[in-house]
């Protein structure tokens, strides 16, 4: 879950509320932000669900609090001034990172805390919506350090541009988003003293190493140029020339990524935060018309930031049934406004004309306006949740639903319980072991060799089935599913040699192996396994117990001689239940025991649970 670090002095300034830290903690808990403690810098750290990404900075959190306190109501959209800058997208931009967006924000009041907050917001947006900068990456620059190239005459008069868009295009300054060859240019990146090529950055700069895999293998790297040259190497690092400091007032924000909608939303969240710092947002033109890949749903010629208000409809009835309470329509509108949304209601459907203020046959539907920073609203139901939070879920009285259904367990679950009871009755300690294990435990230490996938398993010793392995295991001890249960029981014996004997252990449990004939490519089975470790354990002891279990389930047992490397030759048999091969029973091989520092013999068995059906 995301965390946000909050300076409560900042919160007091931004909300205009002189509250104590404790009061803020309580108010924020009600919003779903849980205080996790203090950071080394003395900020309060809050954790919250990854839906409200607009709360990744103190400005967004303050905005939510202002709605909660009633200081703000309804939707707020910052005013924007007309574009002065254009970002021209060049066809050389790598296909893997085709999209760009941006904004200019002027007159921002950045003190130390404000700058820290801006950096934090960038990092958090990268980690969440930006998917570790792969989907969207942000660069913020000091605008005064940029020099715009005047548009050249040729493109200005190009016949492909109609009059209206030519007018639109009349911004004064341009910068360019384009591709650069790994060694194609040089710039001084942040936290460096010398000019480096993009390739140098990836190999020699600490930040470059962290993000190298995002551009690895590209023929050309993404790069942003102004008249003076390369100043940003997204998604890796900005140039030093345009570094933002506390005295920066006018900012240029650029975002590049793999999805236009995503970077536009990240940009909106940033603009709201900077606007809360006194900034005035100014549009930037994004021009894809020079043959670059452009986002189909928006076209090649964009004005950004996109601060459009979205609209969704939600029925009054749906709100009432979901919350289980009756609500007055004006109350619902009030709840929407307290959530930072705007809502107006209108009757819909049959009888709309005869609808009265008290409500009639027609369904009341709210048209709800949603501000652009609310990236979490995908469906009208999300708006019902907002109403519920504003109403206070705590206020709802729980009810037990008056619904009749018939309960019950499935057959295997009942069978497992019955077999377990039978084993416990025979004196076995019921164990519960991990399904994950390693080839060493599952095969090697049991003296068996794993078969290859696709091998005919007829005649293979129980347990030799090919493994279903974990693709990226965390630990060497857990790299595959166990193909049989007996190794787990022997491991428990190994870990308890200091405990009192006899140790009679059993498990009714899951095993699995690779089987491409299954739809999931994994065969999953249940087994009944037991081991008797005691000074006088013999084959007969194990067989007697297998027989007892079979008798309990009215199953016929035969034990023809067989060979199995885990057992002593001549003292091992197949377990054949009702004429079907089901497993193995015998005295464990001394090598298996000595390998585990055991000083008592052990007899063991394992067979299919389904054989007892």
């Amino acid at each position: 879950m995301p965390v946000v670090d909050i300076d409560t002095d900042e919160l007091r300034g931004l909300t205009g509320e002189e509250k104590s830290d404790e009061e803020f903690k309580e108010d924020l808990f009600a919003l779903g932000l849980e205080c996790e403690g203090e950071t080394e810098e003395g900020l309060l750290r809050f954790e919250f669900g990854p839906d409200r990404l607009d709360r990744l900075s103190v400005e967004g959190v303050a905005r939510s609090l202002r709605y909660q306190y009633g200081a703000d109501r309804g939707v707020y959209v910052p005013e924007t001034n007309d574009a002065d800058w254009t970002v021209e997208v060049d066809p050389s931009v790598p296909d893997e990172r085709p999209y760009v967006t941006g904004a200019v924000v002027r007159g921002v009041d950045l003190d130390e805390a404000g700058l820290d907050s801006l950096i934090q917001l960038q990092e958090k947006l990268h980690a969440t919506m930006g998917r570790g900068r792969a989907k969207g990456a942000i660069g913020v620059h000091d605008l005064t350090m940029l020099k715009g190239q005047a548009l050249d005459e040729e493109s200005e008069t190009s016949g492909t541009i109609d009059a209206a868009s030519a007018d639109l295009r009349a911004t004064e300054k341009t910068i360019a988003y384009r591709g650069v060859e790994p060694d194609g240019d040089r710039f001084v990146p942040l936290d460096a003293d010398a000019a480096m090529t993009p390739a140098d950055v990836l190999s020699d700069h600490p930040t470059g190493g962290t993000y190298a895999d995002l551009v690895e293998g590209l023929e050309r790297y993404p790069a942003i140029y102004d008249e003076l040259g390369l100043f940003s190497f997204p998604p890796v690092i900005n140039g030093k020339r345009t570094e933002v400091a506390t005295d920066s007032r006018d900012l240029f924000v650029e975002l590049t990524g793999t999805d236009q909608w995503t970077i536009d939303r990240m940009c909106a969240v940033l603009c709201y935060a900077l606007s809360a710092r006194g900034g005035t947002v100014e549009e930037v033109r994004i021009d894809y018309r020079d043959g670059a890949t452009f986002p189909d749903e928006y076209g090649p010629d964009l004005l950004r930031p996109d601060l459009e208000v979205d609209e969704k409809s939600v029925a009054h009835d749906r709100i009432e049934t979901m919350l289980g309470v009756e609500l007055d329509r004006d109350e619902v509108v009030d709840l929407f406004e307290r959530s930072g949304l705007d809502a107006a209601y209108a009757p819909r459907g049959d009888g709309a004309e005869t609808d009265s203020a008290e409500g009639g046959e027609a369904e009341t539907v709210y048209d709800v306006e949603i501000p652009p920073y609310r990236v979490d609203v995908l469906h009208p139901l999300d708006l019902v949740d907002d109403v519920g939070r504003a109403y206070g879920f705590d206020e709802l009285e729980p009810t037990y639903p008056d619904i009749g259904t018939i309960g019950g367990r499935h057959e295997r679950s009942r069978l497992e319980r019955a077999v377990r009871a039978s084993l416990v009755g025979l004196g076995f300690e019921d164990t519960l072991n991990f399904h994950m294990t390693s080839p060493a435990e599952n095969y090697d230490r049991m003296r068996i060799a794993e078969r290859d996938p696709g091998d005919d398993l007829a005649g293979a010793p129980l347990g030799a089935e090919p493994r279903a392995g974990i693709a990226s295991p965390y630990s060497e001890e857990y790299t595959q599913l166990r193909t049989w249960a007996l190794p787990s029981l022997v491991q428990v014996l190994e870990n308890n040699t200091h405990r009192a004997y006899p140790q009679d252990l059993a498990e009714v449990g899951f095993v699995a192996w690779r089987d491409d004939g299954e739809t999931t490519r994994v065969a999953e089975r249940r087994r009944v396994a037991g081991v008797l470790a005691r000074t006088d354990a013999t084959y007969e002891d194990a067989k007697a117990r297998v027989r007892a279990v079979c008798d309990d389930f009215d199953a016929d047992l035969e034990t023809p001689a067989t060979e199995h490397p885990s057992f002593i030759p001549g003292r091992v048999a197949r377990v054949v239940i009702d004429g079907e091969p089901a497993g193995v029973v015998g005295e464990l091989h001394p090598e298996v025991l000595v390998e585990r520092d055991m000083e008592v013999p052990a007899a063991a068995f394992e067979f299919s649970l389904s054989a007892l059906r």
């Binding site: 609203v377 416990v424 974990i470 990226s472 630990s475 490519r521 994994v522």
Partner: protein, 500 residues
């Protein structure tokens, strides 16, 4: 009449005219006083003897009393030494004390009692012995000797004095004495035989009927018995069974399904975008097997459409890539909600009509570090209710009822976010022992983007929690690794308290 041997002996040793104490009878019959007492009460219950009880005071020597009886009371020793050295004249104190062989506290004791008992005068550092005093007639010495010989001392003042000097302990004890009743005398005259004493009840005794005539040798029933290790159901399994009982009782039906499953069922059906951080290889256990076969075609299309475009007129999709190939990858399920998807879609069983309640208590897998509260494998309790027009209040009421069965009252519902439910709530409850507020589950109403592709057009509320968490709450276990897995400590499993 046949009686057990101890009773026969007692009857024979007792007298009709002379009340005899249990101690006397014990020494006469060569049995332990406890045995005689038990036999006496048994015979009294049969009306053969009377048992009278009186309380007797007795005195016994303390260790210090024993010492003085052997070595002489310190004041007496001082007197003898002073008499010898001075023959009636004052003797320097140090000389007398040395001659008497007194040291430490015995010196003070000697001096404190010397004058009181008229042995002479202690003055100005000198001891004078009164030639008329007779140390051989010292009543306290005599009393010590008498008590050591088990004789009684009648002079209460002397006894009190000795007790206050810490030389004698006064005790009260109950003395029981036994007298034959008339019936007892008659029985004796008619003849009383001793029954045979046996060690074990044997099949022969039972079948021959001889058991009625034998006496069973008495055991020390308070002695320790050897430890017995019976088989036991695993404590966590027991907890799972209890949860299943509760849910079946609440009308829930059990689900089953694959542990290794296509990501489609584990994540895509749950409206988890394919680029969601939880779907990276760090959090899930992808398996090294080929992609799953046979995903239900229509369902795959509907799920893809929900991801891309959302559901309903006003629905939005994710701006994330989606491919069927990615959905076919096989992994160990990270939650058992994959089973819920299989059942709700009708793929696992038949198409479901509301109302329905389903549950499972099955393993789920998390690629995480192993510690005292986290395992790579855990049991997830999963449950859902499908019905028309369910409200958040129904959800709250259902889960409150469930937790109440485990002694957890007062559930708090904290609004939360899950990609697949809305509204969503984290459930918090009070630890029954520590009173601490802890997270006990996650719940919500399935989103329409989840239900609509599955073909469900009513409401479904769902919740999940780790069984281990519930078990740790109710058993007080502190390290989950003691419970679950091959590192299990047999001693812990053998001694864990049974829950029910």
């Amino acid at each position: 009449m046949r009686l057990p041997q101890a009773r026969v002996a007692l009857l024979e040793a007792a007298s009709a005219t002379d009340a005899r104490t249990v101690e006397q009878l014990a020494s006469d019959t060569d049995r332990k006083p406890e045995t005689v007492t038990r036999a006496a009460f048994a015979l009294r219950d049969e009306g053969l003897v009377d048992v009278a009880e009186r309380v007797e005071e007795s005195a016994s020597l303390t260790d210090e009393g024993e010492t003085y009886r052997d070595e002489g009371l310190p004041e007496v020793r001082l007197y003898r030494a002073a008499r010898e050295a001075g023959d009636g004249d004052p003797v320097p104190m140090g000389e007398a004390v040395d001659a008497a062989g007194l040291e430490g506290p015995a010196v003070d004791i000697a001096l404190a009692n010397y004058a009181r008992k008229g042995y002479g005068v202690v003055d100005a550092g000198e001891v004078t012995a009164d030639p008329d005093a007779d140390p051989d007639a010292d009543p306290e010495t005599a009393a010590l000797d008498a008590l050591a010989a088990d004789e009684s001392v009648d002079d209460a003042d002397v006894l009190d004095r000795l007790e206050s000097r810490g030389l004698v302990e006064l005790n009260e004890r109950t003395v029981r004495s036994v007298t034959l009743t008339d019936a007892g005398v008659t029985a004796l005259m008619e003849g009383v035989e001793a029954a045979e004493t046996v060690d074990r009840l044997t099949p022969e005794l039972l079948t021959s009927g001889e058991w009625a005539d034998v006496e069973f040798a008495e055991y020390n029933v308070e002695a320790d018995a050897p430890a017995v290790e019976g088989g036991r159901e695993h404590v966590l399994r027991g907890m799972a069974e209890r949860v299943k009982d509760v849910l079946v009782g609440m009308g829930f039906r059990e689900m089953e399904g694959p542990h290794a499953d296509a990501d489609f069922w584990i994540n895509d059906c749950l409206f988890m975008p394919q680029d969601h951080p939880a779907r990276t290889h760090w959090d899930r256990f992808a398996l090294d097997v080929p992609p799953a076969a046979d995903l239900p075609e229509g369902l795959v299309d509907r799920v893809e459409a929900a991801h891309r475009d959302g559901v309903g007129d006003d629905g939005d999709g994710y701006h994330s890539p989606w491919s069927e190939e990615f959905a076919r990858a096989v992994a160990l399920r990270g939650h058992t909600t994959s089973l819920s998807m299989r059942y709700l879609s009708g793929y696992a069983d038949a198409d479901l009509e509301p109302p329905k309640r389903y549950f499972s208590v099955e393993k789920a897998y998390r690629n995480d570090t192993l510690d005292s509260t986290h395992l790579l494998e855990f049991f997830q309790i999963e449950g859902w209710v499908m019905a028309e027009d369910l409200s958040v209040r129904d959800l709250m009421g259902t889960f409150e009822e469930f937790y109440r069965q485990f002694g957890i009252e007062e559930i708090r519902f904290k609004p939360h976010y899950n990609p697949y439910t809305e509204p969503s709530f984290e459930l918090f409850g009070e630890h029954p022992e520590t009173g601490e507020e802890i997270e006990i589950g996650n719940s919500g109403m399935f989103r329409e983007e989840v239900l609509s592709p599955l073909g469900v057009d009513c409401d479904v509320m769902a919740w999940g929690l780790a069984l281990e968490r519930l078990a740790m709450l109710t058993t007080g276990a502190e390290d989950i690794r003691d419970l679950h897995g091959t590192l299990a400590d047999l001693e812990f499993l053998r001694s864990a308290e049974v829950t029910y």
